[in-house]
């Protein structure tokens, strides 16, 4: 009976538990060029967010620039009209 208790205690002790687990495998060192397309899935970066960001940036920047030029042009033209009417009144 005592021998059975000792065996049970030993089998549940941490040292024995660790000894039974397989050792974690270290990643293999890379000593040559590996193309991105051949990398494992977890090491690859998703392309879609980068593509969407790039296209969205181009459209937003071009649209914002056209709005900016349009607003500046409207402002200048209003001022030109105001000055022309002032000059006409003076004359």
């Amino acid at each position: 009976m005592r021998a059975l208790v000792v065996i049970l205690l030993l089998s549940f002790s941490p040292s024995v538990t660790f000894a039974q687990q397989p050792e974690p495998q270290q990643p293999k060192q890379t000593d040559e060029f590996v193309p991105i397309s051949q990398l494992p899935a977890q090491d690859q970066l998703p392309a879609a967010p980068l593509l969407v960001t790039a296209y969205a940036f181009v459209w937003v920047v071009l649209f914002a620039y056209m709005v900016s030029v349009g607003r500046r042009l409207t402002k200048v033209q209003h001022e030109v009209e105001r000055l022309e009417s002032d000059i006409a009144k003076r004359a």
């Binding site: 970066l45 980068l50 790039a54 940036f57 920047v61 056209m66 030029v69 200048v76 000055l83």
Partner: protein, 187 residues
């Protein structure tokens, strides 16, 4: 390269337009410096703004592509650094024009000459220095379907550049007209 390669159709045409607008700005500035034509000055001012616009597109889309293709956002190699420098020269031009006070138009025109001198350096840099950026010889070797899409994108960007340049020059003409009206009002 997959899906991310499609950034190429915006990146390359905007890069060419970026360089083209720097050349337009430089030539117009030289003609303004040596000929004194205000029309050329207005053209240079408009082209400098478009250099900043298209340069921003190049410098944002490039790193987004590079992150996937190279694994890094940025490399301090000759092509990327000289492009950044050209973009900063265009910014300097606009800042000098805005805050430089009297005589800033000629100072800015001098800056534009440096910006134009940088353009051939940007273009040929990939052929002479070691870099991970693709060389200029890549474009003629593209497959037909990629080449068609690229040249269509180039035509669209060129058309956009011409339209924006005309619109921006028109704005400068209206500003010149406004200045003339203020002067006539003072007299």
């Amino acid at each position: 390269m997959g899906l991310v390669q499609k950034i190429f159709y915006y990146h390359l045409p905007s890069a060419w337009v970026f360089l083209l607008s720097a050349i337009v700005c430089g030539i117009a500035s030289a003609r303004f410096l040596f000929g004194g034509s205000p029309r050329q000055d207005r053209l240079a001012h408009a082209a400098a703004e478009l250099t900043v616009l298209f340069g921003a597109i190049v410098l944002v889309t490039g790193p987004l592509w590079a992150r996937k293709a190279w694994g890094v956002w940025w490399q301090w190699d000759v092509r990327l650094t000289s492009s950044l420098m050209g973009w900063m020269v265009a910014w300097a031009y606009l800042l000098v024009r805005k805050y430089g006070g009297p005589g800033s138009d000629k100072l800015a025109a001098g800056l534009a000459l440096f910006g134009m001198a940088n353009v051939p350096f940007v273009y040929i840099s990939v052929n002479y220095w070691r870099t991970i950026h693709p060389a200029t010889s890549v474009v003629p070797t593209l497959p037909v379907d990629m080449g068609l899409a690229l040249w269509f994108a180039v035509a669209c960007f060129l058309l956009l550049f011409v339209l924006l340049l005309r619109l921006r020059v028109y704005l400068e003409e209206q500003r010149a007209r406004l200045d003339a009206l203020y002067l006539s009002l003072d007299e």
